[in-house]
Amino acid sequence: MPLLLACFGCGLMFGAGLLISGMTQPEKVLGFLDLFGAWDATLAFVMAGAVAVAATGFALARHRGAPVFAPGNLWPARNDIDTPLVTGAVLFGLGWGLVGICPGPALVNLAGFSLPIVVFVVAMALGMVGFGLLPTRSASSGTVNPTITSRADG
């Protein structure tokens, strides 16, 4: 139960950060991505603030060794740049550039329950489920993927 409360609290804080930073507004995000228009650099400030605080916290987490409410830290294990990473990032960037919304802001915006955001979240979920239905490469080699955590970076 403390684990679930911690996750809920972190989600709440993450959502508040997205709201305060303005990153739940597609026009702020698209304004950053629009290098050839009235450029809005806000997203760079958001990233700078987020990365600085997260890096400090992660350094502390590595120093401590284990988290408070779980047996160990699930650091992503991979560091290779493979084809799915590149292809996935291109497809993600295409969708992000078209609409100006990524998964975090999509879920925060869901609270307003406007039609476009509901359409976006349903489509996003379908895209995620669709990818999950594809046969995985590790399965074709006869081995079951041993860990859930090492496959995902975030």
Binding site: L4, A41, T42, A55, A89, G93, C102, A123, L126, M128
Partner: protein
């Protein structure tokens, strides 16, 4: 640069970073929203409650903000729902295929100095910049 909001950007960003740091320090998990939400949709028994709790926090945040007088978020989006749906499909599929999105690769990956995440972030940002340039300014058409 008339739209720039650096103070709220830095403050909100710091809060996002604090949330990512807290999730690692308290639960040992990476705050990657596409991974957390995508894992919720995949069938992984015993691994869904914490994901649901985090996603619930994201959705409840604006509801609590209304108590402080903030309006519910109703983002200004394209009226073209087909375009919105295509964007959503690409964001969902691409983030799972690429193992992360702006939070997992962007914030947490940069904070970990992960080469893989930094590469992914530069690729999706570059692609998004080109997409916006083509859509808004018709470059290449």
């Amino acid at each position: 640069m008339h739209n720039l909001t650096p103070v709220s950007g830095l403050l909100g960003g710091a809060l996002i970073g604090l949330a990512a740091a807290s999730l690692m320090l308290l639960t040992g998990r990476i705050a990657g929203v596409s991974g957390i939400f995508g894992g919720l949709l995949a069938w992984q028994p015993g691994d869904r409650a914490w994901r649901l709790a985090f996603v619930a926090g994201l959705i409840v945040a604006p509801l609590i903000a209304t108590l402080a007088g903030a309006p519910l978020p109703r983002p200004a989006m394209s009226a073209n729902l087909a375009l919105v749906a295509v964007g959503g499909l690409l964001v969902g599929f691409g983030s799972r295929m690429g193992s992360g999105c702006t939070s997992g690769h962007g914030v947490c990956g940069f904070a970990r100095l992960s080469v893989r995440s930094i590469a992914a972030t530069l690729i999706f940002m570059g692609t998004a910049v080109i997409t916006v340039a083509v859509v808004r300014h018709g470059f290449g058409s």
